[in-house]
């Protein structure tokens, strides 16, 4: 597609024989980045854990025997049991489903609305841009977690509402990124050409402008999923997200807090899971940024 025209010259100088697309090029660069691959492996493991949870989990994540509560890690319970006698490992495995759900849905909300706002602002400019960007500025003025707390407090403490809240607070980031890219892309010759042959605004935005803004958005999305998972864990830790007995990592962390001294595994493993997954998404996001547009590295 048109996208290849921008990246092609660089590729051509290295390998004049064949012409590679932007995506193939990016993939080649990503493959060479060991750290990014490590991130990808973690993300892949998370997805696998979520898909295969019923196969992988040794016990029922939702109910246990309270007589077996607070047992240290053992052969029967690799990560120990929690204060309700539930298997921590099984809960963490099932928790990956919640995390993916949270990551995808909340980032999906942010991405969809943010992209529309950013594209409209960047493409039309003028008062449209002014109004939209001031709204975005206002949203940015609040610390994101505080705004998320306020939104969930308003909607009621539920995982669904936590996802909405995290999605909403992340809108400004996508809006800004898309807007800035649209500003530069809309001045290019091919957009001008599209306009010259009579393409209407919608067609130009969706066929020509947005596809060429994908690189930074993909990077932000990947990193955004990690942040969204972290934020959701934070909300659940505060009791505003997942409600018991949902095996959400942040809620598990919160449950373990009161028995931190007797049963440190109740906090250690969910904490580790959150850390690894967020790390995975961040490493992958970093790698993607380098791969998709080396200029963004700065």
């Amino acid at each position: 597609m048109l996208a290849s025209e921008t990246a092609a010259p660089a590729a051509r100088t290295i390998m004049p024989a064949r012409q590679y697309g932007l995506w193939y090029d990016a993939w080649r660069r990503l493959r060479q980045n060991k750290i990014a691959i490590a991130g990808a492996v973690i993300v892949l493991a998370l997805i696998l854990a979520a898909l295969l949870a019923p196969v992988l989990a040794p016990h029922n994540p939702l109910s246990g025997n309270i007589i077996d509560r607070l047992q240290a890690p053992s052969a029967a319970h690799w990560f120990g049991t929690d204060s309700q006698g539930r298997d921590v490992l099984s809960r963490i495995i099932y928790g990956s489903r919640i995390s993916i759900q949270v990551g995808v849905i909340s980032v999906g909300i942010a991405l969809l609305i943010g992209t529309l706002i950013g594209a409209a602002g960047g493409y039309y400019g003028g008062w449209v841009d002014n109004v939209l960007m001031r709204v975005v500025d206002i949203m940015l003025a609040f610390p994101s977690i505080l705004l998320a707390i306020a939104i969930t407090a308003m909607l009621g403490p539920e995982l669904k509402n936590a996802m909405i809240a995290i999605g909403v607070v992340n809108i400004p980031f996508y809006a800004r990124i898309v807007r800035s890219t649209v500003l530069s892309v809309k001045e290019t010759e091919y957009v001008e050409a599209a306009r010259a042959i009579g393409g209407n605004d919608l067609r130009i935005i969706f066929r020509h402008v947005l596809p060429n803004c994908m690189a930074p958005v993909i990077v932000q999305t990947t990193m955004g999923i990690g942040t969204a998972i972290l934020d959701a864990a934070g909300l659940s830790f505060l009791g505003l997200g997942a409600q018991p007995p949902t095996p959400e990592w942040g809620a598990m962390l919160s449950d373990g807090r009161s028995v931190m001294q007797q049963a440190p595994w109740m906090m250690f493993y969910p904490g580790l899971a959150i850390m690894l997954v967020v790390l995975g998404f961040n490493l992958l996001g970093d790698g993607l940024r380098d791969a998709l547009d080396p200029r963004l590295k700065q």
Binding site: L62, I66, P244, R257, V259, M260
Partner: protein, 563 residues
């Protein structure tokens, strides 16, 4: 020590030029820099040392002052004892206010308080109380028969201009409405007051000793009106100083107190919501005593040489209130099914460190009138399912389970207990969503009947069965907005039995009536009684004379701290 940690980078920064310029600069300059750096370091170190001394100096400056810091998980709701029902509030008001009669330090036997003697008429309808002389309220106004009448009129008469600031729940639940049993309060002379009752009320004297009926200064009530709960004035050994919401309440010694002078000069009630954080503070010494120990910490605390563990004699009930007026809970079969679904023994082993007994009656076994013949519903999920099917719910239903936000002696880990009950109920097909609110809202919504299943509890106030059965299950106490019967159990027969028991003075006859009432209650199962627990009070070894009272609150008048 954190102070020093902050200064190190500063010291390093100041001395940095030394390292860079060493080679280039003359020795003279070097000395100058070195001197400046040294001086700066010296000043900083001195500052840290001095600020450390300041802390100690402040403590020493309070001459002969002993501050007792007591921590719990929730803040007081209000400090007007007549308008609160929660232990957090009454713990504080118990130090500020005094009652006409008192309980002995470790049981509910009655001893003189603000009244020195009392006398009942032959028909049991008139009580004459002689009041203590020379007692003054903390604002300097005198305590006398007029003050007693003022307080009772405020509580019992809805058209009284000072009947404001709350719902006076305790008054209605103990005396049966407004004005209820107390027809009139007469001032005989300055030191004698007479109560005229509509009918004999057996627990009358025991009721008068309840901390909620602390006598307030009429002048202060008139002055503050609705805000009296923020400006409490009584006759007690400690005077209110300040209240920082959700942080701390400070009281100081009442130097004009009529009784023996307390050893403590100041009491600080601190709110530390998290059980482990509170214990951490106790271990590090920033608080002197606490309630609300995580049962999982019981063992470690017992082995700690610096701490003493005090067990409160059990006179309480932790229960799962069922809103009997709401569908599907209006069917006794559903309630019985819930009772069969919950494994009480496992709950107690897991969340009470074994410091409790499974409850089968709403009344604790330590109180006379307890019906021991009753057979509890067994833990039997299969039977629960059967009962649900009979009631028309073979596949169960979905409802809400309310979990208290604060740890109480009868419910030391409400969130955990709620989750365990949630698991138990799920096994028989009842799906529950756990909901919670802040403490004041939780109580208010419960009194208003907005709940389905509601974790709650009760600590006996006066050692009388009436205080459990009539308060928790009397039909008279189901008035929405001020209900103490949060099961909204409206059985006429039970209500009549309980009222009859109030009017009889012979204790064995009363006991028989209460036993009969418990049988009907057991059949109806308006609530699931879960546990009678022993509360753990943990204090530093240096704290003396802290005696946990079965009613859940004790006076700190005799508490002392000895190093």
């Amino acid at each position: 020590m954190t102070g020093t940690a902050i200064w190190w980078p500063a010291i390093w920064y100041i001395s940095r030029p030394l390292q860079i310029k060493k080679k280039k600069e003359e020795e003279k300059y070097m000395r100058k820099y070195k001197a400046v750096a040294l001086l700066a370091a010296l000043v900083l170190v001195l500052g840290v040392v001095l600020s450390g001394c300041g802390g100690q100096g402040q403590q020493a400056a309070k001459e002969g002052g002993k501050t007792f810091v007591f921590a719990r998980s929730g803040d007081a709701v209000g400090l007007d004892p007549a308008n609160v029902t929660d232990g957090e509030s009454l713990y504080v008001t118990h130090q500020i206010f005094e009652t006409l009669l008192n309980y002995k330090p470790a049981d509910t036997e009655l001893v003189p308080g603000l009244a020195t003697s009392w006398e009942n008429s032959k028909d049991g309808k008139e009580w004459t109380l002689t009041l203590r002389k020379g007692v003054k309220f903390q604002d300097g106004t005198p305590f006398n028969a007029q003050a007693v009448k003022f307080n009772f009129d405020r509580w019992r008469l809805q058209n009284n201009p000072y009947h404001v600031g709350g719902n006076f729940e305790y008054y209605t639940s103990m005396f049966g409405g407004f004005p209820g049993v107390i027809k009139d309060v007469q001032v005989v002379n300055d030191n004698t007051v007479k109560f005229i009752l509509t009918r004999p009320l057996a627990p009358f004297l025991a009721d008068l000793a309840m901390p909620t009926f602390g006598i307030a200064s009429p002048a202060a009530v008139q002055k503050y009106g609705k805000d009296f709960f923020k400006n409490p004035v009584g006759t007690g050994p400690f005077t209110f100083v300040s209240w920082e919401k959700d942080q701390k309440i400070i009281l100081k010694r009442n130097d004009s107190y009529w009784g023996p002078k307390p050893a403590l000069s100041e009491i600080v009630f601190r709110t530390i919501p998290d059980n482990s954080a509170r214990l951490m503070e106790l271990k590090s010494g920033t608080i002197d005593a606490m309630i609300g120990l995580n049962p999982d910490d019981y063992k470690t605390v017992k082995n700690d040489p610096n701490l003493q563990v005090l067990l409160r004699p059990s006179m309480n009930l932790g229960y799962l209130a069922i809103n009997d007026q709401k569908k599907p809970f209006n069917d006794p079969k559903v309630r019985q099914a819930i009772a069969c679904a919950i494994d009480k023994k496992a709950l107690i082993d897991a969340f009470y460190a074994g410091l409790g007994k499974p409850a089968k009656n709403p009344l604790p076994p330590s109180i006379w009138g307890y019906n021991d013949k009753i057979q509890d519903y067994p833990y039997d999920p299969a039977k629960a399912k059967e009962l649900l099917a009979e009631a028309g719910f073979p596949n169960g239903f979905t409802t809400t389970l309310w979990a208290m936000p604060v740890a109480r002696p009868y419910m030391p880990q409400p969130k955990e207990i709620a989750q365990a009950i949630q698991t138990d109920l799920a096994k028989v097909g009842i799906k529950t969503n756990i909901v919670t609110y802040d403490w004041a809202t939780y109580i208010a919504k419960g009194e208003n009947g907005e709940h389905d299943l509601y974790l709650f509890g009760w600590t006996g106030d006066n050692g009388d069965p009436d205080n459990f059965l009539y308060v928790l299950l009397g039909k008279d106490n189901t008035v929405k907005g001020a209900a103490s019967n949060v099961c909204f159990y409206q059985n006429e027969e039970v209500n009549n039995l309980l009222k009859q028991a109030q009017s009889v003075s012979d204790q064995s006859k009363r006991a028989a009536l209460y036993e009969q009432a418990q049988e009907i209650i057991h059949q109806d199962e308006p609530m699931v009684p879960l546990v009678h627990s022993m509360e753990v009070v943990v204090a530093k070894k240096s704290v003396k004379n802290l005696i946990p009272h079965p009613t859940g609150t004790e006076s700190f008048a005799n508490v002392d701290i000895q190093q």
